[in-house]
C-alpha cells in the first residue's frame, strides 16, 4: 500500500520523494498477506493425503519405478490405467480422449509428483509420446487424430518415437532434407533420420518431413504421424557410449503415409514442432531428481571408506558435494519461483530459459562427484562383486552428457538465453532460404 502511494506521486527527483510520510505510511502497509507462502493450504493438504492413501493401498500393483527402455507391458499398462482413473497421471487430458479431465491445477500435479517420488513408487508412463506428442495433438490435431491416438498413447498401447534429427540436421533442425511427395492420397517419404530414441520398439513415429521443396526453409516442413509397421522403414540400432542401443538410425524408402496423418497444415510443421519442443524443454528442469542425487551421494560418502576413513571425512569430496548442493538448492527455489510465475500467468523471461542448461550441467556435476568419490571402484561397469548401484553412476554420468547434447545443446541454449533472454543479436543465418 505504502509504496503504491509513493509511486503514485511519481518519484523522479529526490526532492519529490515524500520521505517524511514514509515512516507513517510504512505502518499502513498490509503485512498480513504473506509474501512467501510455501504451504499448499488445507484443500491441497487433503488432496495430498488422498494421494498418499492411494499409494499405500495400491503400491503392490505398481511395476518398478524408472523409465523402461522398452515397450510398456501388460503390468505397466494396467498400472497406468489405474493411475489415469484416479487422476494421478494424464490428469488434465479431457475424458473424451481417455484422460481424467481435470481442470489444470499445477499444485495438484506437483503434489502428485512429490508423493510418488517420496514413496519411490512408479508414477506412470512417460516418454516422448505422452510428454510431447499428446500436448501437440491437443493443441494442433484434428478431432479424428485426437480420438484415434491420444487414448492408446496415454495407456501405453501405442509407444512413439520422435523422428526429427538427421545426419545433416541436428541443431539446425530446419535444414532437414527427408522429403515427401503426394501420390494417391499418400505422402511418399524418402530419407534418413538419426538418433531416433526407441525407434526399435516404437509403434508410431511423429516425423518432420520436407513436403514443399520450393518454400523457404522453415515453411516447407510437415509434421506427420507415421506407423512404424509401414513397408519401407528400416531401423538400425545405434549403440551409444553407454553400451546400450538407446537410439537408432531410421531409413525411409518410399514409405506411404495417408495425407490425413499430417498434423496442422502442410508446410506448417515447423510451428507444430515448436509446440512439441516447448514441452520437451519443460521436461528437463526437475530439481527433485537433483535433490535425490545429493542424498545418494551423501550416503556414498557416509558409507564408503578410503584408507579406513569415511569418505565424508575427506574434505575434497565433501567440499565439492556442498558446492553442488548449493546449486541444487538454488534450482529448487528457482523452480518454485517459476511455478509461481506460471500460476500467476507472469512471464519469468530469462529465468525460465536458463533451466535446461543449468539443470543438465548440474546433473552431470553431481554424477562426476559420485564417480570421483568411488575412485577406481567408480570405474566398474558390470559383472563385478565390487560394483556399486549396478554401475548406474557410470551409466548416469554418460547419459547426463546425452541430455546436455539432446533437446538443444548447451551452446544452442546459450544462444537462446542471450538472444531471447538478454536481447542480444541473433546468429547470422547463412543458410537462410536454402
Amino acid at each position: 500500500m505504502l509504496f503504491v502511494m509513493l509511486c503514485g506521486i511519481g518519484i523522479n527527483a529526490v526532492d519529490c520523494w515524500p520521505l517524511r510520510c514514509a515512516k507513517t505510511l510504512i505502518k499502513i502497509c498490509n503485512r498480513e498477506e504473506g509474501p512467501m507462502d510455501l504451504s499448499y493450504g488445507p484443500e491441497y493438504e487433503d488432496f495430498r493425503s488422498e494421494v498418499r492413501t492411494f499409494i499405500e493401498k495400491n503400491k503392490e500393483k505398481a511395476p518398478a519405478p524408472g523409465m523402461g527402455m522398452q515397450h510398456p507391458g501388460q503390468r505397466e499398462q494396467e498400472w497406468q490405467r489405474l493411475l489415469i482413473e484416479n487422476g494421478y497421471t494424464c490428469r488434465t487430458i479431457p475424458r473424451e480422449y481417455g484422460g481424467y479431465g481435470a481442470e489444470p491445477d499445477i499444485l495438484k500435479t506437483v503434489i502428485i509428483q512429490e508423493e510418488f517420488t517420496r514413496a519411490n513408487v512408479n508414477s506412470g508412463l512417460s516418454g516422448q509420446g505422452i510428454a510431447m506428442l499428446v500436448p501437440t495433438l491437443l493443441e494442433r490435431g484434428t478431432e479424428e487424430q485426437k480420438k484415434k491416438f491420444i487414448e492408446p498413447t496415454i495407456t501405453g498401447e501405442i509407444y512413439w518415437c520422435q523422428g526429427y534429427s538427421e545426419p545433416g540436421s541436428g541443431s539446425d533442425l530446419a535444414s532437414l532434407r527427408t522429403n515427401a511427395y503426394v501420390e494417391d492420397g499418400n505422402f511418399v517419404i524418402n530419407g534418413q533420420k538419426i538418433w531416433t530414441s526407441s525407434a526399435h520398439f516404437a509403434d508410431w513415429c511423429f516425423i518432420l518431413v520436407r513436403t514443399e521443396p520450393d518454400a523457404p526453409k522453415h515453411e516447407g516442413i510437415s509434421y506427420i504421424l507415421m506407423d512404424m509397421q509401414t513397408p519401407g522403414i528400416e531401423v538400425r540400432p545405434l549403440v551409444t557410449m553407454t553400451g546400450a542401443a538407446e537410439f537408432n538410425e531410421t531409413f525411409l524408402t518410399d514409405v506411404r503415409v495417408p495425407v490425413e496423418n499430417v498434423v496442422g497444415e502442410r508446410g506448417e510443421g515447423w510451428k507444430v514442432a515448436n509446440t512439441t519442443l516447448k514441452h520437451e524443454r519443460g521436461m528437463l528442469g526437475d530439481p527433485s531428481q537433483a535433490m535425490g542425487r545429493v542424498e545418494s551421494i551423501v550416503r556414498i560418502l557416509e558409507s564408503e571408506t578410503m584408507d579406513g576413513k569415511r569418505l565424508m571425512d575427506n574434505p575434497h569430496y565433501r567440499d565439492r558435494l556442498v558446492a553442488a548442493q548449493a546449486k541444487v538448492h538454488a534450482l529448487k527455489y528457482h523452480s518454485m519461483r517459476l511455478l509461481t510465475c506460471t500460476l500467476k500467468n507472469e512471464d519469468p523471461g530469462v529465468s525460465r530459459l536458463i533451466v535446461k542448461y543449468f539443470g543438465t550441467t548440474l546433473s552431470r556435476e553431481l554424477s562426476d562427484i559420485a564417480l570421483d568419490a568411488l575412485g577406481e571402484i567408480g570405474s566398474l561397469y558390470s559383472g563385478s562383486k565390487h560394483l556399486r548401484s549396478h554401475g548406474s553412476w557410470q551409466w548416469r554420468n554418460m547419459f547426463d552428457l546425452g541430455l546436455i547434447i539432446g533437446g538443444g545443446t548447451s551452446q544452442i541454449q546459450k544462444n537462446i538465453i542471450s538472444e531471447r533472454g538478454l536481447g542480444m543479436p541473433r546468429e547470422p543465418k547463412v543458410a537462410e532460404g536454402k
Partner: protein, 365 residues
C-alpha cells in the same frame, strides 16, 4: 502456494531502487568512494527518512517491524548502487543481536535510537568464524580487552557490538574510554570495515554474562544473508552493464554482442547467478519463518552466490575489454563490492565446511 515477492515487496524494491538510483549515479559513487569513509550523510539520511534503519525492529521500539526478506530487498538495492551506508551493521546485524540476546533495558536503550537513525552500529563477529593473527576480545571482571578485526560498518559507527568469545557480546560506545578504531581499507571504498581495539573498556554485556551465544549465531547468519543480498544486487548490475556495453561497442564493424563468444559469456553469467536470487529469498524467508532451515540455507546461499559472483565480476569486466579494467568505466566499484561481500564473514570454503557440520555430515572441528 506462492514463492516470490508480494505486491508490496515489489513496490518496496522498485522504490528503494529508484531512490538509490537517483541519488547514486556513477559520478556520485566515484566522489563518495574517493572519500574512503564508507559513509554518505545524504544517502543515510534518505534511508533514515524511509525508516530503513528500523526495517526489522519491532514497532514497540519505533521500527517498521518488517520481515528479513524486506530488509534484504533494501540491501540488494544498496548493492546495486554500491551505496556507502552502514546499513548491514546498523539495520540488520545490530538489531538481530539485540533482539535475540539483549535484555529489556538494552533493547529499550538502543533499538529506538537505531530505528530513528540516531545511532550507527559497527558489528564485529569475525573471530567467531575464524581467528586470524590470534585476535579476539576477552572479558574479565566486567572489562573488555583485545582486538576485533573487520568490524562491519565500523568506520562510520557510533556504537560497537563485538563478540567476545563464544558466549559474550560487548556493547561499547565509540567514545568510551579505552576504545580505539583503525580503519581497514579494503578494495571496496564504499564501505568501511575497521579494527576495533578495546583496552580495559567498561563492558555492557549483551544479555548479561554468558548470555549472547545464540545472539552471536543469529547475528552472523543475518550478516551473511545481507552480504549475499548485497552481492546479488552488485553482480546483477554487472551483467546488465556487460550486456548494455556489448550492444554498443563495435569491433570489426559489428557490435561485439553479436559475437557468439560474447553472447555466451553473458548467457553463462545470468545462468550462474539468477537461481541464487531464489535461494537468497528463501534463506531470508526461513530466517523468520522456518528457523530449522535458516542456517543451512544461508550458508548455501552465501557460499554459492560468492562463487557465482566472482565469476560474474570477472566475466563482466572481460566483456568490457580494456575499458573494464579502467577507472573511467567505474565498473570496478561493483567488482570490488562483490569481491568484498565474498570475503567477509566467511569465504566459500569456510561456509561449505560449516554447512557440512550443520547437516550432521561431519563433527565440528
Amino acid at each position: 502456494m506462492e514463492f516470490g515477492l508480494s505486491e508490496d515487496q515489489r513496490l518496496l524494491e522498485d522504490s528503494v531502487r529508484r531512490f538509490t538510483g537517483d541519488l547514486l549515479p556513477l559520478e556520485r559513487i566515484r566522489e563518495l568512494a574517493a572519500e574512503k569513509t564508507g559513509f554518505s550523510e545524504e544517502i543515510w539520511q534518505g534511508l533514515v527518512d524511509l525508516a530503513a534503519p528500523g526495517v526489522i525492529i519491532p514497532e514497540e521500539y519505533g521500527g517498521a517491524e518488517f520481515k528479513m526478506l524486506d530488509a534484504m530487498i533494501i540491501q540488494e538495492a544498496l548493492g546495486r548502487t554500491c551505496a556507502p551506508v552502514p546499513y548491514t551493521g546498523t539495520a540488520i546485524m545490530a538489531p538481530v543481536a539485540l533482539l535475540s540476546g539483549g535484555t529489556d533495558e538494552q533493547k529499550e536503550e538502543w533499538l529506538p535510537q537505531i530505528a530513528a537513525g540516531d545511532c550507527k552500529v559497527g558489528v564485529g563477529v569475525t573471530e567467531n568464524i575464524n581467528i586470524r593473527e590470534g585476535k579476539g576480545i576477552t572479558v574479565s571482571g566486567g572489562k573488555a580487552s583485545g582486538d576485533a578485526l573487520f568490524v562491519i560498518d565500523g568506520g562510520p559507527a557510533d556504537l560497537y557490538i563485538l563478540a567476545a568469545g563464544k558466549d559474550n557480546m560487548v556493547i561499547v560506545p565509540r567514545d568510551a574510554a579505552g576504545v580505539s578504531v583503525e580503519p581497514l581499507t579494503t578494495i571496496d571504498y564504499t564501505r568501511m570495515t575497521c579494527e576495533v581495539t578495546l583496552d580495559n573498556v567498561e563492558a555492557d554485556l549483551l544479555g548479561g554474562e554468558g548470555g549472547a551465544g545464540d545472539a552471536i549465531t543469529q547475528t552472523i547468519m543475518a550478516g551473511r544473508l545481507a552480504l549475499a543480498a548485497d552481492l546479488l544486487g552488485a553482480a546483477d548490475v554487472m551483467i546488465e552493464k556487460a550486456v548494455e556495453y556489448a550492444l554498443e561497442r563495435k569491433q570489426f564493424d559489428r557490435v561485439i554482442g553479436s559475437y557468439q563468444a560474447v553472447k555466451h559469456m553473458c548467457a553463462e553469467m545470468v545462468t550462474e547467478l539468477d537461481p541464487y536470487r531464489s535461494l537468497v529469498w528463501y534463506a531470508a524467508h526461513a530466517f523468520d519463518e522456518v528457523p530449522e532451515e535458516a542456517h543451512v540455507s544461508t550458508l548455501l546461499a552465501k557460499a554459492g552466490i560468492s562463487e557465482a559472483g566472482r565469476f560474474v565480476a570477472r566475466t563482466a569486466t572481460e566483456v568490457h575489454g580494456g575499458m573494464g579494467f579502467t577507472d573511467l568505466m567505474g565498473l570496478h566499484y561493483w567488482y570490488k563490492r562483490v569481491n568484498v561481500d565474498r570475503q567477509l564473514l566467511g569465504g566459500a570454503e569456510v561456509l561449505r565446511e560449516e554447512a557440512a557440520v550443520a547437516q550432521g555430515w561431519i563433527k565440528a572441528a
